[in-house]
């Protein structure tokens, strides 16, 4: 099996501060991989490096063996590297339908069409319905996003990413701030992802991580401390030591 997403010696400095230090990650096709670490370990910085929001100070990023280190954000998405945000990034004026519709149009390469209406292609409509249905958003598809309850917005955040047709999906704390009752919907949506989609879950919530992940990497002070199966990680005394000081001790 070849790696779908791979980083080699990835490094990012802010002035004298090293936020990401020599990170080597390797995700196989269809992997369910989790990245954990205490607050301030540099998880979000790493996601920003992977998605092209930030440029690395050193190192390389490979997607399907192709170097994408200098590729623009949107180009990476077109190659199938899609993310969600820890804090919802949505279009408040849109409806879930138009939000997903735009993402589906982009996936189908129709986003530069200036003359045809958004809904004039059957494929777009079908794509929208499919994604909205999977996340249970059909009943609110014509509601203004800004007025949706938070849990629904969180679902839309993920649904939008799915609508982009990811081959590698970076989920940045998908359950953050979601009330217990609405959490199941999110987990179900994530679990229902096609098996060939590679998922990197960045998460705080250990329950979620251990239910979901096949492999786990632990990030501490910007560097990978260790990597292994959930049981290996659970048994690792260094990981315990790191988390002892924090809320999961």
């Amino acid at each position: 099996m070849t790696a779908v997403l791979e980083t080699i010696g990835l490094e990012r400095r802010f002035g004298g501060l090293i936020a990401t230090s020599n990170v080597a990650l390797r995700l196989e096709r269809g992997a369910r991989h989790a990245l954990i670490g205490p607050n301030g370990a540099g998880k979000t910085t790493l996601v920003n490096l992977l998605t092209g929001v930030l440029a690395p100070s050193a190192g390389r990023i490979l997607l399907d063996g192709v170097d994408i280190t200098t590729l623009r954000q949107d180009r990476r998405v077109r190659r199938g590297l899609v993310r969600t945000f820890q804090i919802n990034q949505l279009f408040g004026d849109f409806t879930p339908l138009t939000t997903v519709g735009l993402a589906v149009s982009r996936r189908l390469g129709l986003d530069t069409q200036v003359w045809r209406r958004l809904g004039s292609r059957k494929a777009v409509v079908d794509g929208c319905v499919e994604v909205l249905e999977r996340f249970g958003l059909l009943d609110v598809m014509n509601t203004k996003v800004a007025t949706l309850p938070y849990g629904r917005q969180r679902l839309l955040e993920i649904a939008t990413a799915i609508a982009c047709g990811p081959r590698v999906l970076l989920l940045d704390e998908p359950a953050a701030g979601v009330p217990e009752a609405e959490r199941e919907g999110i987990l179900a949506g994530v679990a229902a992802l096609p098996a060939d989609v590679t998922v990197l879950l960045i998460e705080h919530d250990m329950d979620l991580v251990f239910r979901f992940a096949q492999r786990i990497s632990v990030l501490v002070n910007g560097a990978i401390l260790t990597e292994g199966t959930p049981s290996e990680i659970a048994a690792d005394h260094r990981v315990r030591a790191v988390y002892l000081g924090s809320d999961h001790g």
């Binding site: 954000q73 138009t98 929208c128």
Partner: protein, 323 residues
């Protein structure tokens, strides 16, 4: 559900009766208000100009206080062509739009970054620099005295501009309507949606694979073309171009016009132009010295009381009647 989704998507670009009524009224005004053709011609031109600003400000979220750069560019192109003997209005307008688009494309790269204030000042500086250029190149533009000697031919070789402004208004209205239809169509396309998305959240837009800067460049260029055509219309229908077309007050006026009518729904500029020009003309007939005071009062009241509450009550009344 699939049908419902399709219907909802199809509904996005559907003509609604107030829109139809608006355009019926616009065309009706040509027949019914012959005495107002000159003013209405200015309304149509300002409306097109404000529509152009709406594409940039209302849809893409780029605040511009220098939009007159493109308006003036178009006006000078149309004017200079007419002076050099290329007096065909349609070709002149086309040239005005294209040159303004070129200018828009080149300068669009300056407004990709920065806060509202920075963009405001960058666009303003561009227009001020162009103002100075037009002023310096007096051999071409006529400088501060204005461009003289334009000879504008009849529209399509048939309709000569008359002193009543009837041909002028019809011509401007046709151009406005045509370009409005294009803008409407484009703004309801996936491309248009992606431009709105950039304004809504640039971070997310990039995260679904849409090149943010590319979209901004594209819409800015298109809007510049619209402004250029508006400028060309003004030059052709008044058969005169002066530095006013590119002056700061022109940029400020169009911004006020658009904000008055409301941004981001295509009609704001048109309604704003109608209200602004009509109020200005009416008040300045009543009190040529102090009309600005009353216009100012309207602006202040509109914001302090709230636009929704001022414009909202006719809509509310209509709703009640309909019920």
């Amino acid at each position: 559900m699939r049908a419902a989704a399709q219907a909802a998507l199809a509904d996005l670009g559907r003509w609604r009766w107030p829109e139809v009524a608006f355009w019926v009224a616009a065309w009706g005004s040509w027949l019914l208000l012959p005495e107002q053709h000159l003013l209405l011609n200015e309304v149509a031109i300002l409306g097109l100009f404000a529509l152009s600003l709406d594409l940039v400000l209302g849809f893409a979220g780029i605040i511009s206080l220098g939009h007159a750069a493109f308006f003036g560019c178009g006006a000078y192109v149309a004017g200079i062509l007419a002076r050099l003997g290329w007096g065909d209005p349609v070709l002149g307008l086309l040239a005005a739009g294209l040159v303004a688009m070129g200018l828009g494309f080149v300068t669009s790269f300056l407004v990709l970054r920065g806060s509202d204030l920075t963009r405001l000042m960058v666009t303003l500086s561009v227009s001020l620099v162009l103002f100075e250029v037009a002023n310096r190149m007096a051999w071409l533009t006529g400088g501060a005295d204005g461009l003289q000697g334009m000879v504008v031919g009849p529209v399509l070789g048939w309709f000569a501009f008359d002193i009543f402004g009837s041909v002028a208004y019809a011509y401007s209205l046709v151009v406005l309507f045509g370009l409005f239809l294009v803008a409407r169509r484009v703004m309801h396309s996936p491309f248009g949606l992606s431009v709105r998305a950039v304004k809504g959240n640039a971070l997310r837009t990039a995260a679904i694979g849409i090149p943010v800067n590319g979209r901004l460049v594209a819409i800015y260029t298109m809007a510049a073309g619209y402004a250029g055509v508006a400028g060309g219309l003004l030059a052709q229908t008044t058969q005169f171009v002066s530095l006013d077309v590119i002056a700061f007050h022109r940029s400020a006026d169009v911004m006020l016009t658009l904000v008055l009518g409301g941004v981001g729904y295509l009609y704001g500029g048109l309604i704003g132009a109608l209200v602004f020009k009509w109020a200005q003309s009416w008040l300045s007939d009543l009190t040529p010295e102090y009309w600005q005071f009353w216009i100012g009062l309207v602006f202040v009241a509109l914001v302090v009381i709230g636009r929704e509450r001022v414009f909202g009550w006719p809509a509310a009344v209509l709703r009640r009647i309909a019920r």
